[in-house]
Symmetry: C2
Subunit: 203 residues, 2 copies
């Protein structure tokens, strides 16, 4: 907790903070988790697991809070349950549809693995105005350009590509700060170049 | 964290500890959560959310660890996704089947809300040798006798009924310790009486 608090202190005030907490509990407990993440830690958004139900997500979407609901995650086993066919379409599409019906675009977006661009394209069609957090760039093997092109909205926006290990652990040596900064910068430039190319191509 | 550590210290060594953490993340992060819950906090078991996939559950089932996977949760919105029909049967049954195939009975049980006895009966048929943690007794409205009869295995065991708020918040006054103890004792006696009646009736 102290390390998390120190990390928050080190982040400039104009940089949004997303807590990748993947919480999701019965409503009373979900409300307590949401209070902790948003009121105590002052997160701008948090990731939320949908299995427990819409009432478990709701406390993360009230007031100025913002939930990023797990839709299609970035891991190899993501399909075990998320791909199960419900009325002819995968479960992850149903999760997105139900959340889009229930929560406003300014209160709820989705986690869509950068490792699964085909699924990202399907979900963008279902949720044209939602933010997609796309983790799995870097160590998990997602390509930032492919992920961006798959997940982008009609205006060339709506995607937050995310890398964790490839930046955090860019170096174990004394140069870790510079190495992490360099890794983040390279990724940022690759993302911006891919976005520029994709939006230029669509004009 | 300090309050959690103090709570652990207050629990006698012969009482098993289940951390109702409902974690579930990509494998690398799930492994870190599992290390924290089992190696740092020395929990005996932890609850795990299945949506991310079997590889997100696996780190909670290695060595002497034990996962209680969310199957049918106790909240009003439990059916939003858990009841969706997959190949003619509800998703929560598929979750239980896949976990039973993948993880041994000594490493994995299930969370089945005491508020949903019909679902508990269906799941007991699918998982005759698994432990069911049945939360939702008390404040959430589950009846301990009905839950036990629905969830019990063929030997009259296999169920851990669980009440949280009705015990923790039995009193806000100075008598909170005695009131919580009394509430727990009343519940324990009701559970044992229901179990005795149910097993006597089946002989």
């Amino acid at each position: 907790m102290d390390v998390l608090a120190l990390t928050f202190q080190a982040i400039p005030a104009d940089i949004p903070v997303i807590l990748d907490a993947k919480r999701g509990d019965v409503p009373n407990t979900s409300a307590a988790y949401a209070d902790a993440l948003f009121d105590s830690f002052h997160a701008d958004a948090a990731t939320v697991a949908p299995y427990v139900g819409l009432d478990s997500i709701e406390p993360f979407t009230t007031g100025s809070r913002y939930a990023l609901v797990l839709a299609r995650t970035s891991n190899p086993g993501a399909g075990d349950f998320q791909d199960l066919e419900v009325a002819g379409r995968p479960l992850y599409e149903r999760v997105v549809e139900r959340c889009v019906e229930r929560f406003g675009a300014d209160r709820c977006g989705f986690v869509v693995g950068a490792t699964y661009p085909d699924e990202a394209r399907r979900l963008r069609a279902l949720a044209p105005d939602r933010l997609f957090l796309m983790p799995g760039v870097g160590s998990q093997g997602g390509d930032v350009g492919i992920a961006l092109r798959a997940g982008m909205d009609a205006n060339g926006g709506g995607v937050l590509p995310s890398a964790s290990r490839s930046v955090l652990y860019a170096s174990r040596g004394d140069d870790f700060e510079k190495a992490a900064g360099d890794a983040a910068r390279v990724l940022s430039e690759a993302a911006n170049a891919a976005r520029a190319a994709a939006t230029a191509g669509s004009r």
